[in-house]
Subunit: 389 residues, 2 copies
């Protein structure tokens, strides 16, 4: 059943090689004071920083910088950025980087003029902004999170051992525009590329594995998964294959810009487990998802058997003839695991630094959500984490 | 190869039973003078007119009306509407109806303040508006055209025997919002329902049948086609099945809101043929497409054999084992034709009123486009039309 919903996603996307030139069309729409936000400095090595700074200069902008946004952006870093943006009287936030940098820019957008503590307001009470928010633009250099076309922002609070994402309700929080140049992603190390690919795949799964109906969203999700599996195998053999990388980039955007969740309930439980692992290990996001997925999906499969059997057939091409529904479903998960291993994904949380004595703490950090095939209890969370070791 | 492109679709959609109430959120954003646009008056019988007029009143709007917009809106009707909208000093155009009414509202949006002749400017010279345009909102009561979330507007000039669509470049021409209530579509006659379903299917085909690559857009297109085939079979048996009708409605929107053409060239040649038939017969749009499709696709199949074989397998579940690529491709088209007959679509243009002596005239009205697997010559157009008799 396609439930009632609204949909609005006004982010303008400029896709393709050389698309950064469209900054010249977009920047004049915003005020003079721009805060340029980026990560560890790889954009200084590959020339993207110079290119963007040149365009900002040609458009007469005053530029302040927030550098060093880390892969799992922290609350402390958010507080630091709020000071910088306030001092610069920021009119516009330009994120140049991957999902973490985009997420950070959106978290900053709702925090700069916020008089309350943003962690408490947005991440503990899940409130919407009651202050002015700043427009955000993105130049994407890594693929996976879909942050370039949604209103989500994940922040990590190391003191509280919590990594929490808030998807804001107002489409104004979505980037006003994003530049998607697949060439920018070609220099990424293999580990980051495949982690991003699994992040994309899991975004689709998180929205696909709920409901027993014949929702159009699930058919679109299957198309996206098939495209991703196809292109990931090409990119895994040849990381420089522009066509494969461009299709992966485009799939990532549509995997998490709200389209495929329309009319559905979702629980995002793999992300809850993965984010808890991330909060305790600071491991790469996509790898934390990969490392808990196998145990999680095998655990919930009996509660959504029909959908897992459909997944096996429509996504992995499993032939159901001569198989029980359960055997078909299991063959689908086996095919998924084979593909994950083929890509070189991390399949065990122990490989990400989790020790036996951390399991209880990670379980404490795991939010338990409703909306999927099975609402986990704490004992099941511990069991899945142990299975993932 | 996913070519360079931009994407922006800011239309806000309110989907589901009772969604018309969201007019109360949208109307206050626009000026006081609203022109209400509708078709033959069925909305007066089913209560939608009263509901909308009541909400307009509660929002303090001055309402002028353009009634009687016909299934293939004419240039004369456009001229008439321009006078009404100018006299009313229109601030906002509210279309309540199907694709023709939405198309008409968009054509009106770019014409009210246009000092040149809109036919010559937009439909012969394909120029973009150089005047102020009026914002448009839609309440959709028929499904098929996708007009509720795109910038396209088809107008028929009977004197010139031309039916031409213009997809405007500026996303401002897209409806600002659209209300999609599947309940509104339940009263439609079977003929209109299945014509709409084929219109949707053909929109997807028009964008799918080009290119030899592994573009993500084609995978999304396959998902949409599979969803549509599935739901259309349910709706064909039980027109009151809300779930099937709602999935059809949602598929229609995504079939033609630019998403699945991103990075691709397209020729829209079935629409060129069908629109020429429509200009000479005034037949229902979806039926004109259905009646030329079989001959057209069998004609171009050899030029895009690989894609037609993929279509057979991924959309229709044809098993390729023991078949040549051509046999697989043919089995796919046969499956499509079986489905069309199952729905009760018109398979011959002779059934739409075309006589042998009209063929040359229809060929004259058929625009020949580039971007697909085969650029037709005039003799091929005649041949396809004769095959379709």
């Amino acid at each position: 059943m396609l439930g009632n919903f609204s949909y609005c996603n006004p982010t303008k996307l400029y896709f393709g090689e050389g698309a950064v030139k469209y900054l010249n069309d977009e920047l004049p729409k915003y005020g003079k004071n721009v805060v340029l936000i980026y990560g560890g400095g790889s954009i200084k090595k590959n020339g993207i920083y110079d290119e963007v700074v040149k365009i900002l200069g040609e458009n007469g902008k005053n530029v302040a910088e927030i550098a060093g946004v880390m892969p799992n952006p922290t609350l402390e870093k958010l507080y630091e950025g709020m000071q910088i943006a306030r001092a610069a009287k920021a009119d516009f936030l330009l994120a140049v980087g991957g999902g973490s940098v985009c997420d950070y820019a959106k978290a900053l957008s709702v925090s700069v003029h916020c008089e309350q503590d943003p962690w408490e307001k947005y991440y503990l009470r899940f409130e919407e902004p009651s202050c002015e928010t700043l427009p955000v633009g993105c130049v994407l250099t890594m693929v996976g999170t879909g942050s370039e076309m949604n209103a989500g922002a994940v922040i990590t609070n190391h003191k509280a051992k919590l990594k929490i994402g808030h998807v804001f309700a107002d489409e104004k929080i979505m980037p006003r525009f994003s530049v998607l140049d697949p060439k920018y992603t070609l220099t990424l190390p293999h580990y980051q590329m495949v982690a991003g690919i699994y992040d994309i795949f899991n975004h689709i799964c998180e929205q696909y594995f709920s409901g027993e109906d014949d929702n159009t969203s699930d058919y679109i999700a299957e198309g996206l998964m098939r495209s991703l599996i196809h292109s990931s195998r090409i990119a895994n053999k040849d990381m420089q294959d522009y066509e494969a990388r461009s299709n992966i980039m485009w799939t990532a955007t549509w995997a998490l810009n709200t389209l495929i969740s329309r009319g559905k309930s979702t629980d995002w439980e793999v992300h809850m487990l993965g984010q808890a692992v991330g909060a305790h290990t600071d491991a790469t996001h996509g790898m934390t998802l990969a490392a808990v997925s196998s145990a999680y999906y095998r655990h919930i499969m009996p509660y959504g058997l029909k959908k897992f059997a459909r997944f096996a057939q429509n996504v992995w091409g499993v032939d159901p003839s001569g198989k029980t529904e359960r055997e078909t479903a299991e063959a689908g998960l086996a095919a998924m695991e084979d593909w994950m291993k083929e890509l070189g994904l991390v399949m065990r949380i122990s490989e990400l630094g989790v020790k036996e004595d951390m399991i209880e703490g990670i379980a404490d950090s795991t939010l338990i959500m409703e909306g999927g095939y099975k609402v986990l209890d704490r004992a099941e969370v511990v069991e899945i984490l142990k299975e993932s070791m």
